[in-house]
Symmetry: none
């Protein structure tokens, strides 16, 4: 049948395949509404096999969260921290680019999963805070801070609050992707998410108000 090597390789891949399947289904339907067998089937194995790799459905959930959260954040973080150009540029280009890779990956579902399940599994909260919220806020915070330091951004900026102004819509769009997104009746109402984030960043930078027009003017 299969050579020992193939078997070995499949065996090694199993846990990840199961985690992927679990992430997909937990995000789509929620933890409680997902059957263990569905996860197994989506991963191409049988019910019993799932339990060879994870002792229970709940442990599977935790593994999914641990695994997915740890993986993905760090990667873009480096680039943002390393970035040497203007903060404006980082906000308009680098950050949306990074976000797009998150948005496009299945990991975007983690936001929905966390929001959905923290109340039932409070351990998730701590993990999420440590792995996502803190590092995420820190890196954006530093970016904004640098903008202030470099004179690009207004000196009186409330950096903490601004971080949320930057970040919350990005998360919200990830949530939509896995909730209302797939519902045809809503799709038509919402703009394309990539475009939306770029617009949002631009707007954040320049503000809604009609720009002050120096020299000759009667600005409000």
């Amino acid at each position: 049948m299969t050579t020992p090597l193939q078997r070995q390789r499949r065996k090694d891949a199993r846990p990840q395949e199961l985690l992927d399947a679990a992430l997909t289904l937990f995000v789509e339907k929620g933890f409680a509404a997902t059957k263990a067998e569905e996860v197994a089937t989506l991963a191409g194995v049988s019910k019993g096999t799932l339990y060879l790799y994870f002792p229970s459905k709940e442990e599977l959930l935790k593994a999914v969260i641990r695994h997915t959260l740890s993986a993905d954040i760090a990667q873009g973080r480096e680039r943002l921290l390393a970035h040497q150009g203007s903060a404006t540029e980082a906000l308009l280009d680098l950050l949306p680019e990074w976000w797009e890779t998150v948005y496009d990956s299945p990991n975007s579902g983690m936001f929905k999963l966390v929001i959905t399940e923290v109340r039932n599994f409070p351990e998730i909260a701590e993990f999420y805070a440590r792995e996502v919220v803190e590092p995420g806020m820190e890196v954006i915070g530093q970016l904004l801070q640098r903008g202030v330091a470099q004179g690009e951004f207004r000196a009186d900026l409330d950096v903490m609050a601004a971080v949320h102004s930057v970040v919350l819509p990005m998360i919200m769009l990830c949530l939509h992707k896995h909730s209302l997104g797939p519902c045809s009746c809503i799709v038509s109402i919402l703009p394309e998410p990539r475009q939306l984030i770029r617009s949002h960043m631009a707007l954040l930078l320049q503000g809604l108000q009609t720009p002050a027009v120096p020299k000759t003017r009667k600005t409000r």
Copy 2:
């Protein structure tokens, strides 16, 4: 033959009591993870009584959504539409005020509920689109449009996109209230939501960038 008054009064109140209990629990734990009996108990009745008023747990969910969504949106809408002052003022005061009443009420949980359950109950999507998304976007859209028309907001504003910049953080904070909010380990990281929304509005108005400083003046 004549129904006693006290009984009648209790009977009349039951559906609402059950809906309230269901909203609370469905939001907290999700639909699938909430047991019918828990809802009944929280409403102060027994399992069987729940089924006197709603034919199934699923119908209860739909009733919760129908009931809660329909109720709450309209109220602030009127005030926003009626508002005659400057758009800036509406954005800085009226809108945050309105949002605060939503945020404080249990109805704020609807956002979590919808996000969590649309994939499992697609009928929700249509209802949410019709009752919340469309009217909500329309009223904010008109507000921004008026700002543009009155020369308060920049003429080249992408109104559609700006609506999302305004709205998404407000929704996101409602989600937090019912997900990470109650987790002590996170609370410390996040600013007070009311303050956050007001900061967000201010930032959206003025932008991050250091105001262009023309030669002669002392701009704001």
Copy 3:
């Protein structure tokens, strides 16, 4: 509202109305599949009222059986016993007539009810044996016996067995009335029951076989 007299009259009628409703529904759907409330509704009263007259659903069943069985058998019995004509005549006319009144009345359902429920309520058996089987067999047995005694029927008749030949089809048609009878797809196959019983009696009397035709005679 209602005068005391009317009330009194209704009150007196209640038990019978409930028994009638119960008979109808127990026969149609079986005891276990009939809900107490259905009986009450059909009798035009509310659930609670049923329990004012009968202490439990099971007691209601027993009352139905006691009441219905006792009532109906005796009546025709008298006439058969009193009959002074030929046994042949009794078999061809009197018996079918009697049976027709049973078949037409709701009491015909008792046969189905007994057959359906004896296994679950063995007390029924004794009652049925005493009230229906024994007197019924006795009266038909006497009829046949008289036929033999009077030289109408063959002398070597096994009366016990013949009673069953006479009676079983009559009961069977009562069963059909309440089971397959109402199913349109079967109706077409079955002959009209009254006609059938009369044919059956005639056949029983004369037999299937071509009468032996000895040379000289004009038999029958």
Copy 4:
């Protein structure tokens, strides 16, 4: 990957075991009064296993009926149709023999089950008509017809009606077997069913009436 043999064998046998158990209990207690778990237990499995093979209790009932009805009728039919001897002989020997095998098998319970449940599950009627009533009546009808054609039976015979005279007592005894039969208090009253059917056939053939006795003869 390969299913072990012993397991496979058990799995193959399960549905039949469950159907057998269900037939027994549904006949004895009726569908509504039989608990799913009782069926499982009688079949030697647990509650859950039942639902591995049948999606619901109601589907189990339908399967029982489909399965049992289809199976059993045909078998004797062939022999009756193939029979080349006299119709009289067929009626006295072949038919009672066939009936006895039905009577002795658990399938005899089907008559009770059909009578008991058609009103609640009208689909049963059509199936019963097609699988039992029609073929059964046809084969007996042909038998009688042949008797007429061969000069054994009276030429003016109403064949349709006669079929019922033949058949109804046979069915009725099957019903008794599963209703009053097991009640000791009745048993004493009723003759042995096999004997009864043979007596019935003999009586049907020859009739109750004293044979006409012409003057000179050796009439049988």
